[in-house]
Subunit: 270 residues, 2 copies
């Protein structure tokens, strides 16, 4: 809208854009990286700018350059930093539980966290049955994931409505009914410890989800398993209770003592 809004931290933004391009959409076979010109064109920036930025990023280890093809890809430093993330601990703790679930049901198992209004998948453990899509780092709106239900359980109804109001197309009957459905799902998590939702990204797949709490009793993640939409109700119930049990165990592994959960009235932190 504006002619030239002064851009603070333009350098960082540029660098992040570059990293994002290098990250690719993932499922491509862009494994051997990208060249300077290609990136420059994709970002609609000067080659020189990209060239210099990439050199700086390489110096910091954020990207690395293939010695032969001279193409750039994401660097080891990202890995090292990510390993120090809060999330890393979560992943380490979660991994065995997720594997157990994947084995028990032979379905994909996921660990998700809430980030703003989106659900980010931190790890996914594949089942044996089908090709496994890489979900790590992928972020979807809360409304679109079963995990969203688990992650918002502690929110006050009012805040949930606000969020849904912003996320769902307003004024539609479907939106209203969706909101009611949502609140019902939350109640189900509270009473049963899990929720089944068919509002997943992939059409043929529904999700079962259960919240995980840390030592303070705050919800820090959700564990989920996918399930074919046609699954029998009793199977869903069985999976749900089992999942809730695993979530409880994982919470304990994070230091939650029994009775500390269900911290009431924890509002939206933003």
């Amino acid at each position: 809208m504006s002619e030239k809004p002064p851009a603070p931290s333009a350098g960082l933004r540029r660098d992040m854009e570059i990293l994002e391009v290098l990250a690719g959409h993932g499922d491509d076979r862009d494994a051997d990286g990208f060249g300077v010109s290609w990136i420059a064109q994709r970002l609609d920036r000067e080659k020189s700018q990209v060239s210099r930025a990439l050199r700086a990023l390489e110096l910091e280890g954020m990207v690395e350059r293939d010695a032969l093809t001279r193409r750039y890809r994401l660097g080891w430093r990202l890995f090292a930093l990510a390993a120090r993330t809060q999330h890393a601990r979560l992943v380490n703790v979660a991994a065995p539980f997720l594997r157990g679930l994947a084995l028990a049901f032979d379905e994909d198992a996921y660990l998700c966290v809430l980030r703003g209004t989106h659900v980010v998948t931190l790890v996914s453990v594949p089942s044996s049955r089908a090709y496994h899509r890489v979900w790590e780092g992928v972020s979807v709106p809360v409304t679109m994931a079963a995990a969203g239900r688990s992650l918002l359980v502690d929110w006050q109804e009012e805040h949930v409505r606000q969020l849904l109001g912003a996320a769902l197309p307003s004024g539609l009957d479907s939106a209203v009914s969706s909101a009611e459905k949502w609140l019902a799902d939350l109640a189900h998590v509270r009473s049963e410890g899990y929720v089944v939702s068919d509002v997943e990204l992939d059409d043929s797949v529904a999700g079962v989800s259960s919240p995980v709490r840390d030592h303070r009793g705050l919800i820090v993640a959700a564990i989920n398993v996918s399930v074919t939409r046609a699954a029998a109700p009793e199977r869903l119930r069985e999976m749900g209770t089992r999942l809730a049990g695993v979530a409880r165990d994982m919470s304990a592994a994070l230091g939650l003592r029994p009775g500390m959960d269900r911290v009431g009235g924890v509002g939206r932190p933003d």
Copy 2:
């Protein structure tokens, strides 16, 4: 040396320093992050600078701020980017093999890669026996790790000597003998597929290491297991051959076809 050498990409450097501080030494209980002033003091920079930089980084998701304590920590974006790294694939492929090893020997199992003159540990799978130190993302000089031997197997002797000359204190007898020991270790990897080294960081522990190759036959990583130094020779030999076998399997999982390995004369890529 110079009065004021113009600093290109000063912003990036600052950001990286901040991220590095937030990464902490890891094993501390700095889990709840750091405040602006603390970081500024630690980096000997202006508070204002750090404050603004952190806000920008937060906007990009590289750091996040605890809503209550107002302290910063590393953000989810790092996780998302790291998941798209070359290394991430490696880790995914390696995980089951490492678990197998950790289970079979009840020793810690590691996956390492070469980065410049250092060995970076990407994953470590703990044994059941002792407290497990967090190694992920930790980098040590090639000379200090058993994995170093595996990772340099394809280098020409001349290049290895160069590296050792730079890394080891020069002119000492010990250095010369170390170099010879090194080359002998490399030969051992070539003939037996593994190497045992007692020049580990931790004094009480030695390491067994074996190289992993990708579809092109290039060495991309090393898998290792720790072992108490007092282990019997036949146990070491058994572990070594087993490790070499697992390394071969993992290489195959990365697309290496039999006969493609041992690409001769692959020099130092820098």
